[in-house]
């Protein structure tokens, strides 16, 4: 009887996951018409490691053929640490350089990740992401709320981020946008995990191969890396986006 109830609960949990993913795919198609700028960023996992701090550096290089968006570089450096077992806070500085301009600091960000469920407890693992961004030179502010979900399939892991973005300020049109990021990866080894990522936002969508991994540098000292090439989907998307991430966890 208990086993039967257990199955029912797993069935319910699975149903919620499938319903969520259906909405997710629908919104990912819709979001191409809704969200601003490049959608390529990184895929967040819904987990928090207690008593952990990290320094992260990530870069995005975009290139387009004529008629596409300008060549652009986006660099972010951040410091983050966990608060208890379920919360992780991070502060970012964001810099940008376009083909015609100089590199300059663009914005700062505060970000909080909240792990909602214990890994492996339910049919999928859930988390929330909250992010506030303020530009330095223009009155542009942004608040992002994200749902993070991950599911294991043996050595494969599938992750999805559904983001709702509110933008406001005198230098920008007040609006809500959506964006989607998805990742499928194979946990081949600690140092090397190949995968595929898909991003969708306003005027930009892309898909491409990624690689990631981590190397232990001692007790609770880990260097994590990610690299990928995202090929643009549609004429408005950058042709190629190269993304890199280096993260020191301690």
């Amino acid at each position: 009887m208990i086993e039967s109830n257990y199955c029912s609960c797993r069935w319910l949990s699975g149903l919620v996951f499938k319903a969520f993913m259906s909405v997710f795919v629908g919104l990912s198609l819709l979001s191409q018409a809704l969200a601003d700028g490049s959608a390529v960023d990184k895929v967040y996992h819904p987990y928090v490691d207690a008593l952990e701090s990290e320094i992260e550096f990530r870069s995005l290089f975009q290139e387009s053929s004529s008629g596409g968006k300008d060549f652009k570089q986006l660099h972010q450096v951040s410091f983050g640490r966990s608060f208890g077992q379920a919360l992780f806070g991070e502060v970012y500085l964001v810099g940008e350089r376009s083909r015609s301009g100089q590199f300059e600091l663009e914005a700062f960000e505060f970000e909080v990740k909240w792990q909602l469920t214990e890994q492996g407890e339910y049919s999928a693992d859930w988390g929330l992401l909250f992010e506030y961004e303020q530009e330095f030179n223009d009155d542009v502010q942004e608040f992002t709320t994200g749902i993070l979900v991950e599911k294991e399939f043996g050595r494969f892991s599938g992750t999805a981020n559904l983001l709702l973005i509110q933008e406001w300020g005198s230098a920008i049109k007040d609006e809500f946008e959506t964006a989607v990021a998805m990742q499928a990866r194979y946990r081949y080894s600690r140092a090397f995990e190949p995968g595929v990522e898909l991003y969708a936002g306003q005027d930009s969508a892309g898909i491409g191969p990624v690689m990631m991994g981590s190397v232990s540098l001692g007790v609770r000292k880990t260097l994590r890396w990610e690299a990928g090439v995202i090929f643009g989907l549609g004429s408005d998307s950058p042709d190629n986006s190269f993304r890199f991430l280096l993260e020191y966890e301690f």
Binding site: Y6, L12, D49, A50, E52, E118, Q119
Partner: protein
């Protein structure tokens, strides 16, 4: 006109009846979902893994294939330790003299090594799935 009034009154009564019927139904549904959740929590077998003197006890955990298991990790050392396993895709910190819970499985038959990240030379173990 009377018929209309009568009809409206009957309709209102029906709606109220439905409301009263629905309220216990909703409560029952909520209780059922809660029961399922509790049953699911209770149905997952639990095993204990002790950390003492920077060693895992038992160092070999045997679990059945295709079965999810809740592992309660109890750290009897005053210093923190982290259960880590790439093969199990788990990483969980346990504070000194504290405890935590991880879920592993369902797994295919095989051996899945784990270690303590703070004392990796001594804190080692393996999950054997049969």
């Amino acid at each position: 006109m009377k018929a209309v009034v009568h009809s409206a009154s009957t309709s209102r009564k029906n709606r109220e009846m439905k409301k009263y019927l629905l309220t216990p139904l909703k409560t029952l549904s909520a209780v059922a979902v809660l029961c399922f959740a509790i049953a699911a929590w209770a149905a997952t077998p639990e095993i204990e893994l002790i950390i003492k003197d920077h060693l895992f006890f038992p160092a070999i955990l045997e679990i059945p294939a295709g079965q999810k298991v809740r592992v309660r990790i109890i750290n009897q050392d005053p210093t923190p330790e982290e259960f880590e396993s790439f093969e199990l895709n788990r990483e969980k910190l346990v504070i000194g003299n504290g405890q935590t819970v991880i879920f592993i499985g369902p797994l295919e038959p095989g051996e899945y090594p784990f270690f303590g990240e703070f004392y990796p030379k001594t804190a080692q173990g393996v999950v054997i799935v049969k």
